[in-house]
């Protein structure tokens, strides 16, 4: 734990109180149960271990997404990003995906990244939808600023959610064109995009308490933890 001296205090952003994302679960097409929950700040170092191996994977822009998530979560852990949060997905206790974002103010949210560790099950789509649910339904924001770093993201978010193009609006991720999910667009698409049930039964939630890091990655042939 960092010593919170006067200098450190002055470096930290002022935090806005945020309601915690209530955990939920979704039955995947395979029958597996995807549990989505918010992590606490102290869990970040463990999650970073899952991200690290992907930082050199060029395919599908995993390198840039993993590197940026790594630095964003590190910033969250070390109090260098204001009002950040991170949701994770687990299946049978194994970490299968990560999403994060932050609040710009009480009305506008900023989506950072969506990263799927286990592919082929639409985990990324459900984690992204959960992130939007957090901003627009639980934090009652009016809109979320979104950018895409990979064609997959562009196809999934910009096109499928018919996001509003707002290139003149500034987003922290490097000045690439910004798109916006407004409350109206969210209400239009929510019914077909957002899955899941609450509450999560205690025993199922327990499996997600201490996420197991993936032993292998389809993105890294031959990798074994």
């Amino acid at each position: 734990m960092m010593i919170v001296d006067k200098m450190e205090q002055s470096l930290r952003p002022v935090e806005t109180p945020m309601v915690t994302y209530p955990p939920k679960y979704i039955t995947m097409a395979t029958g597996e149960k995807l549990v989505i929950r918010q992590i606490a700040r102290e869990e970040v170092p463990h999650i970073l271990e899952a991200v690290k191996p992907l930082m050199t994977v060029e395919a599908d822009f995993y390198d840039i997404v993993a590197s940026r998530i790594y630095s964003e979560l590190l910033g969250y852990y070390r109090y260098r990003v204001k009002d950040e949060y991170c949701l994770i997905g687990t299946i049978d206790g194994v970490l299968v995906g990560i999403v994060n974002g932050r609040l710009i103010d009480d009305k506008v949210g900023m989506s950072y990244h969506t990263m799927t560790l286990k592919q082929g099950l639409r985990i990324g789509a459900q984690l992204f939808a959960a992130k939007m649910e957090y901003h627009l339904d639980f934090l009652n924001q009016e809109e979320v600023l979104i950018v895409a770093e990979s064609p997959n993201g562009f196809k999934r978010w910009m096109i499928e959610y018919e996001l509003e193009s707002r290139p003149e609006t500034w987003h922290e991720l490097g000045g690439v064109p910004t798109f916006v999910l407004t409350k109206a667009l969210w209400e239009k698409h929510k019914a077909t995009k957002l899955g899941g049930r609450r509450p999560v039964k205690e025993e199922l939630l327990k499996t997600a308490e201490h996420p197991i890091l993936p032993a292998t990655y389809a993105q890294i042939p031959g990798y074994k933890r």
Partner: protein
């Protein structure tokens, strides 16, 4: 007419190509097929002709003259080279032309390679590109797409024959299960029938694409390539592998505008193409041990299985329900995973189907082998059934 066989097969992993050019992707399958047959490129390679099948390289990848490029890339000069386009049936059409080139005596050895790199564009752009094969005034201009046609077709089959959404899902689950044993398949995930049909989350995890078709009733968008090396049967002893004979090929066309068809639930071109192939091979539907049917949408596998004579009209879905099309069933269909789970890179598909039949007849389809398979049928479906090629392969007894 000379007899023609297949002495080499190659297949790239279907899915998403990461990096590399269209020619790189084609070469993956082509080199495998040449290696499989024991053919070395360069001086004296013996390949007389190369056919490349693709529907969209010029549009999606901005590369035309692909066959000429591939011949040079593979060091197969001065082989003759042509690029073939016949929509999603381009692959089987290219094989047919290779067959004709050898049967006529003009060539002894023909390399046929097919491929598509479709994931460079969004799903909507890809769907629009595929829809360009529809009738421009009667269909395309009204916004019709292939999934839309398949949805309408499915609805008619539901009304007329009692096909249900669950039947479509049964076919999908079977094909996904088969694909888990095919290392080159695009998708290695097996959906659970209950979870994609009845579970509370099913509408989200298996959403409608074109009602009543849901996501698991449609093939994915895939990149990939496949190749076969054809030779004259009387020259086959020069190659490493024993030939699998092309015993029959049939092709038929139907009206371009689907609305002009007499019976909209019929796939007449499938029926006629299969009949031609049976006649040429001297075989009947009962002689076929394994089949690859063009299941871009799951309803197509059901109706094609009827049109090629495996089941009576209107009973294909019942056969699927009863497991008759599974491996070990009466007539295993789409042991490769089909277009549904193996993937559907348009120009590669017809060749990929033939590659699977060759592997089955050679006994090389590890994990999904149909025991004792001696004859196989592949049906490659172009447009919305307006141009279909059926190919029958047989294993020649020693």
């Amino acid at each position: 007419m000379r007899e023609v066989g297949i002495v080499g097969v190659g297949h790239s992993k279907f899915g998403k190509m990461s990096g590399g050019t269209f020619t790189d992707m084609l070469s993956m399958a082509a080199v495998q097929a040449l290696d499989d047959a024991g053919v070395k490129t360069g001086m004296g390679h013996g390949v007389d002709q190369v056919f490349v099948s693709t529907m969209g390289a010029g549009i999606l990848n901005k590369q035309s003259g692909i066959a000429s490029a591939l011949v040079d890339y593979l060091n197969l000069r001065p082989a003759m080279a042509e690029t073939i386009e016949n929509g999603p049936a381009s692959g089987a059409s290219a094989i047919k032309l290779g067959y004709m080139a050898i049967a006529s005596g003009m060539c002894d050895c023909v390399l046929v390679v097919g491929g598509e790199m479709m994931r460079v564009v969004s799903g909507w752009e890809g769907t629009d590109f595929v829809a360009t094969m529809l009738h421009p005034e009667a269909e395309y201009n009204y916004g019709l797409t292939l999934p839309a046609f398949a949805g309408l077709f499915t609805k008619l089959c539901m009304e007329k024959y009692g096909v249900t959404e669950t039947d479509l899902s049964i076919v999908a689950v079977k094909n996904h299960e088969n694909a888990t044993h095919n290392p080159v398949a695009h998708i290695h995930v097996v959906p659970n029938l209950y979870c994609i049909t009845e579970d509370e989350d099913a509408p989200i995890m298996n959403p409608y694409v074109a009602e009543p078709l849901r996501m698991y009733h449609c093939c994915p968008v895939s990149d990939g390539s496949a190749a076969v090396l054809l030779c004259a049967m009387d020259k086959a002893d020069k190659f490493k592998k024993k030939p699998i004979k092309i015993a029959g090929i049939g092709q038929a066309t139907d009206t371009h505008a689907v609305a002009e068809r007499e019976v909209p639930t019929d796939l007449l071109a499938v029926r006629l193409a299969a009949q031609m192939a049976y006649k040429m091979s001297g075989l009947t539907p009962q002689d076929i041990d394994v089949a690859e049917l063009h299941d871009a949408f799951q309803i197509l596998e059901i109706v094609e299985s009827e049109e090629v004579g495996f089941f009576k009209r209107g009973e294909g879905h019942i056969a699927a329900r009863n497991g008759e099309t599974k491996i070990g069933g009466k007539i295993p269909i789409n042991t490769s995973g089909g277009l549904k789970a193996k993937g559907h890179p348009l120009g590669a598909t017809g060749i990929s189907q033939v590659v699977e039949i060759v592997k089955q007849l050679r006994g090389e389809a590890t994990g999904r082998q149909v025991e004792g398979a001696k004859a196989g049928l592949a049906v490659n479906f172009g447009g919305f059934g307006n141009n279909v090629v059926a190919t029958i392969l047989t294993k020649e007894e020693a």
